[in-house]
């Protein structure tokens, strides 16, 4: 087996936030993920890389309740959340997810998108008699500034550029105030400048938030990552610091094959 590298000392001291045990799923006989065991500590920023079709998105589907595993468990803060509904995982366990490719409310304004995402008012009666407090409005503005969209608050989401829509969805996840932030290819379709800015946004959250991010763009990975997990063909290939992983012959083989 490949060597498992230890994360930095500081992170090691923190308790485990998310743990998967032997997670597997198959779709009509196709084994999309097999036996994924992985744990992420509080305050960690973990990057998952791997070629297309490796099962990265599927892995996030299993954590966030979009798909149900055929075997294995997902533990969050020590509680078993395997097979729970997406709404419950978001609301009760506070896991926020940004999907691959912008997934926002198109014919609503930027501010409305963020407002809808702010956690704590998901019930019917709560939302019926909700009145935006000064604190609420301040929080929305703060997030809009964080994602560089403060000037765009009255724009319809559909009128934003692709990169801005990605930011908007990242902002929605921030607004959820989640314990775990999951970002699936946040920089796909972004310009180099936008990608770098996105890296900065995420680095600012480092330490305070626990973040799990899937990424393809190696510049971005170099910018933000210190600890990396590599997926290939539905399996966890290796895990370790970015330098260590890059030197791994198996990883090199996978990526060389992809480069062909």
């Amino acid at each position: 087996m490949t060597p498992t590298h230890k994360p930095a000392d500081k992170a090691e001291a923190a308790p485990v936030l998310l743990e998967t045990r032997g997670l597997s799923v198959s779709f009509n006989g196709f084994q999309a993920l097999s036996d994924i065991s992985l744990s992420i500590r509080q305050g960690e920023l973990r990057v998952i890389i791997g070629p297309n079709g490796a099962g990265k998105t599927t892995f996030m589907d299993l954590i966030t309740g979009k798909a149900k595993p055929t075997a294995g468990q997902v533990l969050f803060e020590g509680q078993d959340i395997t097979g729970k509904s997406a709404a419950e995982i978001a609301r009760r366990y506070k896991i926020g997810r940004k999907f691959q490719g912008p997934n926002v409310f198109d014919n609503m304004t930027v501010a409305e998108n963020i407002e809808l995402a702010v956690a704590g008012y998901e019930g019917l009666t709560q939302s019926l008699f909700f009145r935006a407090s000064a604190r609420f409005r301040h929080r929305v503005t703060e997030i809009l500034e964080q994602i560089e969209l403060a000037d765009y608050r009255s724009f319809m989401a559909t009128d934003l550029s692709h990169g801005q829509r990605q930011w908007l969805e990242i902002g929605m996840v921030f607004a959820q105030d989640p314990k775990l932030i999951i970002l699936d290819e946040p920089t796909s379709g972004m310009t180099a400048d936008e990608t770098r800015k996105t890296g900065d946004m995420i680095k600012k959250l480092k330490g305070e938030h626990t973040i799990l991010v899937v990424e393809h763009d190696m510049d971005f990975v170099r910018q933000v990552a210190d600890y990396v997990t590599v997926f290939n063909l539905g399996k966890r290939l290796v895990e370790g610091t970015l330098e260590a992983v890059q030197q791994d012959p198996e990883v090199q083989a996978v990526y060389l094959k992809e480069a062909d």
């Binding site: 709404a87 609503m108 000037d151 724009f155």
Partner: protein
């Protein structure tokens, strides 16, 4: 924000609403009784159109059988009135237990409001927990309209079958013939309900719940990952919309003085879809204006052409069908939708220009 800017940023359609209500308020002053009567019916239909707009325009649930709820409200008043005045076709000497509430004036009013709400609750529970959405929701509601029409025709013991029920009591609560408001008076009763319904809708769509409903329309699955349970919201809006449709049906029956199976069937279900589509979905104004324009034209053209051809009603349906096709292809957002789009794109350009200016300035400041 200064008041003036706020007023200027108000969507254009709110001014149209204001003008419309002023028009409706003064209408009886300069119009004869016939047109006051016609307009009362149109206003009841406007409430119906608003109820569909909440469901279809805002939440994206295209009910093709909304008349079921309108008709359910209308039939409650019809049966109550037939019973109170002992219509000659009534063959029973006691109301069955499930209709007993109709013997009380207020009971009939409440039944007309809550029976449609209950029907919506049951349909909704079945559909939304079974994750039926999109075109399947539309088809099932369409089928329900067809079934309901057959149902009231078959239940002639209580509904007088094909012929329908004559209702001559024109009051809010009482079902007795001896109590009757004038056309003018009842006009203002309907107007008050229309204004109330409009204000309720306007309030609702601007609450957070209203935004969640729009979120369901835009991207339902995304909402669940923000911790919402869309089914509860859909059930709520379906019930509210159902009650409003029932209210519309109740008022319409009292204006019109009769109800028959066409008020619960596919005919009316299609009409209301056309009104809302032509006026424009999801802004309330479109539902009001679409209903007014089309119903007004129908009445007007009817009086012009009925002398020439007795089949006007048939031709009118053809015209409506063609109009719907035209609207769907040329201005899918409807009349008011086009207006709003123009305002939004103008505001969008202004905002973009402002951002550009700001960026240029910040470059000047730190080169």
């Amino acid at each position: 924000m200064p008041l003036l800017t706020k007023v200027r940023q108000l969507p254009v359609n709110r001014w149209i609403d204001l003008a419309l209500f002023l028009f409706l308020l003064t209408f009886p002053i300069w119009q004869n009784t016939y047109w006051v009567y016609i307009m009362s019916g149109i206003m009841a239909y406007m409430i119906f159109a608003l109820s569909l707009d909440l469901l279809w325009g805002y939440t994206g649930l295209m009910s093709m059988g909304h008349s079921v709820l309108f008709g359910a409200g209308g039939y409650m008043i019809g049966i109550a009135s037939a019973w109170a005045n002992q219509a000659d076709w009534i063959k029973f000497d006691q109301l069955p237990w499930f209709l007993a509430i109709l013997s009380q004036p207020l009971g009939a009013f409440l039944a007309a409001l809550f029976l449609p709400g209950l029907i919506a609750l049951f349909i909704g529970l079945f559909m939304f927990s079974g994750k039926i959405r999109g075109v399947f929701f539309s088809l099932i509601t369409l089928a329900l309209a067809g079934i309901s029409e057959l149902f009231v025709i078959n239940q002639s013991r209580y509904t007088h079958g094909d012929s329908g029920i004559t209702v001559t009591s024109r009051t809010l609560f009482s079902n007795s013939d001896s109590q009757r408001l004038t056309d003018q008076q009842f006009y203002f009763v309907v107007l008050a309900f229309l204004l109330g319904s409009y204000l309720l809708c306007l309030w609702l769509v601007n609450t957070r719940t209203g935004k969640v409903l729009q979120g369901i329309r835009e991207n339902e699955s995304r909402l669940t990952y923000l911790g919402y349970k869309p089914a509860a919201f859909k059930l709520f809006i379906f019930m509210l919309s159902g009650m409003m449709a029932g209210l519309a049906g109740m008022l319409f029956v009292r204006v019109q003085g009769s109800i028959n199976h066409s008020a619960i069937g596919i005919n009316l279900a299609t009409l209301v879809l056309v009104w809302v589509a032509v006026g424009g979905r999801g802004n309330l104004t479109g539902a009001l204006i679409g209903t007014l324009l089309l119903q007004f034209s129908e009445t007007k053209l009817n009086s012009v052409f009925s002398g020439i051809s007795a089949d006007f009603a048939q031709y009118w349906k053809l015209v409506l069908g063609l109009l719907l096709l035209l609207i769907v292809f040329v201005i899918p957002k409807g009349l008011i939708g086009v207006l709003l789009e123009q305002q939004q794109s103008r505001q969008g350009r202004d905002r973009k220009a402002a951002i550009m200016r700001k960026e240029v300035h910040s470059h000047d400041a730190n080169p």
